[in-house]
């Protein structure tokens, strides 16, 4: 077996192994070792997936199929990884690493539980990216969701439980929608494997079973939209992000909603390629989401709530990329997802730093913190500029690609809207920066010092990723072009 055939096994084996090891560590040593272990697993996944992306491009194959470890060498392949999933596996590793580094400071009491739940969550996310049928996708979606609910409510404070309950209640509705949609597709197609689900299911007008397929599509889009927190299904998202521990918020905002919701929607567009209403719905959802998220972010006072509404708003750009439907559009959406993951994770680590050092997240009470916390301030400014689409950061290139993809697919109105809506992104972030880091210094914070430890490392790492990817982006595009991907 080649290296490329071995790597995908590790994405399922590593979290499972870590889960077992974490539960046999003696209680006395768990505090010191457990988070280091989750950071190691996350870091390893990031590097392995990065290697996997390059090996996959060089090998010229479109996908690697594999079974469980005990099936190695046999001709079974109920899992599959292609370039899209390999790239997203790398994003999972990156965000999980940032979360684990932040947890070193923010989580004190429940470290063992945090690692257990993070590993289950990573297993769920990796599983979603590796499966080859819609039913298994749903199963791993539920695994990810369950780990999220428990993580949000981990401390059992009134606010934690409220956030977890709101997420869970809406997820229950999403579960009903998704499962009903899947059962309708199963009735029509007789299987839920990706190979069996084709656009041909929707032809044959006037037929009763075709109607079932359309109903299934509507239900699946609604269900996955709830999971991804797209407007108008976003009401659970700010509450869950605000109430959860910041290390958990990083996971939720950075990757869980992206894989659980947006990757599922991407899977639908890839399976039912060529069905025009699907793309129109995604484009309209994307446009509405950008607008609603940005306008609501303008009205918030809590740092984490602004970041949460910004997450909602940015999700719209990813959907617009996918709505273009072309290869360029999907690539643009994925790169946007990556740059947004890096920037938003940086933003939540900033929130963790501020909460730790000031004890509050109300931006009206802050002011002039730039001198007191230069690293946090710098990383926050880079994240802002990247999200708002200012060159040369990663966010600029990915936003440009989304606009180009929309323009070349003939969706010029949407492209113009996306460009104008960027102003709103700039507006709510500038308001935030002015109130928190610049503006008149509040004498209350004269004794505040810069954050140290895992949060500082995480801030610096994520800022480096945003800047470095932005700088090498043209080379990356040339590489992808040479490999024939765009």
């Amino acid at each position: 077996m080649t290296v490329l055939q071995w790597i995908p096994h590790l994405f399922l084996a590593l979290p499972m192994l870590a889960l077992i090891v974490n539960n046999v560590i003696p209680r006395a040593r768990i505090r010191t070792t457990t988070i280091a272990m989750s950071a190691t697993v996350a870091g390893a996944q990031m590097l392995l997936a990065l290697a996997g992306v390059f090996l996959l491009v060089e090998s010229g194959e479109s996908a690697v199929r594999f079974g469980m470890i005990w099936d190695a060498g046999k001709n079974v392949g109920y899992f599959q990884t292609d370039l899209v999933s390999m790239f997203l596996l790398m994003c999972v590793g990156m965000v999980a690493l940032a979360s684990a580094l932040t947890a070193l400071t923010t989580i004190d009491d429940h470290r063992g539980s945090y690692t257990n739940l993070l590993m289950v969550m990573m297993l769920g996310l990796n599983g979603m990216l590796l499966v080859r049928d819609l039913f298994s996708l749903y199963v791993f979606l539920e695994v990810t969701g369950l780990a999220s609910f428990v993580m949000i409510g981990m401390y059992k404070s009134t606010r934690d439980l409220e956030g977890a309950f709101k997420y869970l209640a809406l997820s229950a509705l999403a579960t009903i929608f998704i499962l009903t949609g899947l059962s309708f597709l199963f009735i029509k197609a007789g299987s839920l494997a990706f190979d069996a689900l084709t656009p041909a299911l929707f032809s044959g007008a006037g037929d009763g079973s075709t109607l079932l397929c359309w109903a299934a599509l509507v239900l699946l889009i609604s269900g996955y939209s709830i999971k991804s927190g797209v407007a108008p299904f976003h009401s659970w998202l700010p509450d869950a992000y605000e109430s959860a521990d910041t290390a958990v918020s990083i996971m939720l905002s950075g990757i869980v909603t992206k894989i659980a919701g947006v990757y599922s929607l991407l899977t639908l567009t890839r399976l039912f390629d060529g069905i025009a209403p699907l793309k129109t719905v995604l484009a309209l959802l994307g446009m509405f989401t950008i607008l609603v998220g940005a306008l609501l972010a303008l009205a918030q006072k809590n740092f984490k709530r602004i970041a949460a509404y910004s997450s909602v708003s940015q999700m719209g750009y990813i959907l617009l990329g996918f709505a273009a439907g072309t290869n360029l559009g999907i690539l643009a959406g994925l790169l946007y997802l990556f740059s947004h993951s890096a920037a938003k994770s940086a933003f939540f680590t900033n929130a963790a730093a501020l909460e730790k050092q000031l004890g509050t997240l109300n931006i009206d009470e802050m002011g002039g913190l730039q001198k007191r916390m230069p690293i946090t301030s710098g990383s926050s400014v880079v994240a802002l500029l990247s999200t708002a689409g200012v060159p040369p950061f990663a966010g600029f290139w990915s936003k440009l690609m989304v606009l180009l993809a929309l323009w070349s697919a003939g969706l010029k109105g949407y492209a113009a809207f996306a460009l104008i809506a960027s102003i709103l992104t700039g507006a709510y972030f500038l308001r935030l920066q002015k109130k928190v880091f610049f503006g008149k210094p509040n004498p209350r914070w004269d004794a505040v010092v810069e954050i140290t430890g895992g949060i500082r490392v995480s801030e610096i790492l994520l800022t480096i990723v945003t800047v470095a990817v932005g700088l090498v982006f043209p080379l990356l595009l040339l590489y992808l072009q040479r490999a024939g991907l765009i």
Binding site: L161, I176, T180, F186, A189, G190, N302
Partner: protein, 101 residues
Amino acid sequence: MNVTTVMLVSGLILILAGCIELIRTHHMLKIIIGLELAIKAISMFLTLGGWLNGNIALAEAFVVTVIVLEVVVATVLSGIAISIYHKHGNMDIRNLRNLKG
């Protein structure tokens, strides 16, 4: 009216009832009941799909998995509901007003 239509219509009525229960109620445990009701109907649809396509083995696997997942979700949901009950003394969702904006 054949068997398929009867099963589809009755299943849809059950799902609708579950969704209405889930959305309209103020009691946390009733939310779980609504979810359970809808998922029972979905199990019926999955069985129907297997029967119509002559692939009952696959349908069995789906239904068993759905039952396991539904129990896990119900357990987590009731765990959170009980924790909230300890805080507020009742299970009314109108108490959940701390997070706003």
